[in-house]
Symmetry: C2
Subunit: 514 residues, 2 copies
Amino acid sequence: MANFYFDEATGLSLDFNGLQKPLDLAANAELLQKAQANMQALEGGAIANPDEQRMVGHYWLRAPQLAPTPEICQEIEQVQAAIWQFAEQVHSGRILGCTGQPFRNVLVVGIGGSSLGPVFVSEALQSPTDRLRLFFIDNTDPDGMDMVLGRLEAELAQTLVIVISKSGGTVETQNGLVEVRSFFAKHDLNFFANAVRVTQKGSPFDTAPDADKWLASFPMWDWVGGRTSVLSAVGLLPLALQGVDCRQLLAGAAKCDELSRQPAAQNPALLLALAWHSLSGGQGGTSMAVLPYKDRLQLFAKYLQQLIMESIGKEFDLAGRKVRQGLAVFGNKGSSDQHSYVQQLVAGPENVFVTFIEVLRDRANTIHQPIVRDESTSGDYLQAFMLGTSKALRDHGKNSFIITVRDVNPFNVGMLIALFERAVGFYASFVGINAYHQPAVEFGKKAAGEIIALKNRLLAEMSKQPGVFQPADFWAEQTAADPALVWHLLRHLAANGDAAVKTQAVLEFAGVER
Amino acid sequence: MANFYFDEATGLSLDFNGLQKPLDLAANAELLQKAQANMQALEGGAIANPDEQRMVGHYWLRAPQLAPTPEICQEIEQVQAAIWQFAEQVHSGRILGCTGQPFRNVLVVGIGGSSLGPVFVSEALQSPTDRLRLFFIDNTDPDGMDMVLGRLEAELAQTLVIVISKSGGTVETQNGLVEVRSFFAKHDLNFFANAVRVTQKGSPFDTAPDADKWLASFPMWDWVGGRTSVLSAVGLLPLALQGVDCRQLLAGAAKCDELSRQPAAQNPALLLALAWHSLSGGQGGTSMAVLPYKDRLQLFAKYLQQLIMESIGKEFDLAGRKVRQGLAVFGNKGSSDQHSYVQQLVAGPENVFVTFIEVLRDRANTIHQPIVRDESTSGDYLQAFMLGTSKALRDHGKNSFIITVRDVNPFNVGMLIALFERAVGFYASFVGINAYHQPAVEFGKKAAGEIIALKNRLLAEMSKQPGVFQPADFWAEQTAADPALVWHLLRHLAANGDAAVKTQAVLEFAGVER
């Protein structure tokens, strides 16, 4: 029985009072011990990602002395020192943009793990005193890139571009790089004088011919996975440039790591993982809604979607059995979401539980707050809505628990990141899966490559038969392809000004009922 | 069998080729007829929301001539004309802010249905030529309000405030109103000279003593629900001020309504609802991931979370049977989400399907696009990733379908809004629930009121015993309340500078394991 966790020093608490059944540590002692042993081995440098034969070392990033070799420890410390120095030189104007002006903006080009962490922390810790403003290109949507670049156009010379790709082969990021470079070229500005890259040593991106032209380069490591890379150069570089106290961010994560090496009853991450496990029955098919009652933390659920779903959503377990594991994550913020989908959480299906994130401090200025009604502040109501929703869920047979931090500051954001990273690791041990690979991500990428090839075959075929005016089915036959695919490809090409397609293709096909 | 829907005139298409089993219209003929009959009755003015004894009239907003009475038809047309005129007068400078300067910003204060629709459409249709910039306060988070007001501080006199609450009793919105008013007062600016309200005639907000002070007022109607109010004054007013062509927004919705009054095989909304029904088995517990492959549509899933989950997430059906219906919705955008949770969608549990939203046109300038690689543009890859992910899902036994529009413009956004509004209505008929009430939303609100009362009792109790230094358990006993609740309340009060609590409460309690 453990319904409450509270660490007085940090103020971190977990309140499991909203569970229909209290957590049972005794009944799960074996499971808990196994998970702790696995975590200890992982932190010691074991090959915790067997499929990829990799160590899993993101915990070393905030405690380099724990790294399995002195070389790794030294590398971490050197890279962090280099990041602090680079940020300081940009802030002080010792490093200037391509036209000799100080930098005002940072444009991060990266996707998935190279964007979700930095964008979450950047928004959570934003302040009017930020040194530089962060922007993100995290997709291969041309219109989306045009929107971001349009906002930066007037200050492009004062925009530092950080291109992030661990593997160096991420197509969306490579496309973003080409688009941003051509935008700089269009404005006769020297891209490389404003451009920094973060990638793994030896990656195609690292060894590219223009490798020496970049303003600076920072390494990623084989032993840091994308979804746990926010405390590597991936997150630290843009956040340090923004003006975030990254040392506190690291300290908070390190502190939560320490707390989560304690025995079960005093181990917040292990208790969190146990709650997930008892609520999901260790099976897939359960969803978790994450509701931070704090606007700044609005992107936390989006960040957790990747951390949790990409780690736990697996077809096979470590023994090779088909298990179709998963834990779906969604959510935005309270109390806004109470006016959205909480109706379903309370009244609807059983296969969902809620994680509330509570922040005790309401606002920077706690002295002069308007009393909005009934001797209460807006913040009193924010808390009351959270506690009230927790009660409504419990009364309707649903489960929820509350994670509380004192304030949204770098230390506490670091704690929250570590808390969920470790809970994911523990949960993966409970259900016996590899939390550190993502094989299914490749399937869509591979299929996309085949579709690009089909598009090129299609255009070649049409150019061989100029003036031929035929529906998609015909061109599908010519290219031995799925007519529905060809239909989508032709419509897309025509909509984007391909004259040949416009004149030669009928933008429908026999599959459509008349 | 109906695997494709295509309307050549609008370019709207639905591709169900990604389903493991094709849609079977014949087998569901009865279900489809019942749903169409219910929709016809609803559009004719039936009491489609029996619990609240209300008509459901959002379809009249874009086709006033369909309204059941000439009075309603006239009211809709008059309000729209008043909105167009008000926006024109603000744009032309005939209406100025409290200091005689033209308006530059709009601050919308509203939550749930009074914010999710406007914010989605505003972002989807944003353009560098927007007439005014929109900002939103959609919560009772003091820090969140401070962040928004801080951004507006320098231009506060040129900020038009729109306060939206249909019932006039929404606590978060009332709190936002108090905070924004006090911020104007702090800057010696006349709030009411800059403030417009949208509420239902006769609501507490409408009949408040300061009713006559507002710059303008626009009505909401009893027969428009919050989650379907984006095409009422709730959405039209801020969007018209932004510079969105609202007539096209309405025209697109009206057009999709027409298409969705056709026989099943030619009825996009009915086919969509049938797909949901065959994929969920008409039961709760299934999730739908919504992936628009277009950055502008990033908030669509968040908008649909409310529209769908608040409508379909119900404990009882119309016959009073406990059914725990629901359809969970989450998603952000492709291809970014492929680097996040798509790993789980492909490899994980079976109880999820995917709705892809495809936009054919890649960017405003389709002439000069960089070729990023392999004779292809960034947009070619965006489409290829969508089609590739669809294939990966199908190959792994998962279901998905593709909704395609030509471009993101007001007409097509109107079509998408109507498409899902009607699909929700049809689905509700399939499973026999009331899609137009949200009883469970009240439970959390009611409990929140009790918690505010407990907080006040607690403070009164502590002031009666000054200097008494005791843990939460003691004060819980004094107020006959749940110690865990009291613990949260005391910690929150102490963190926000309540001296009494700081001196009298020990911020932990016996429930915590030592």
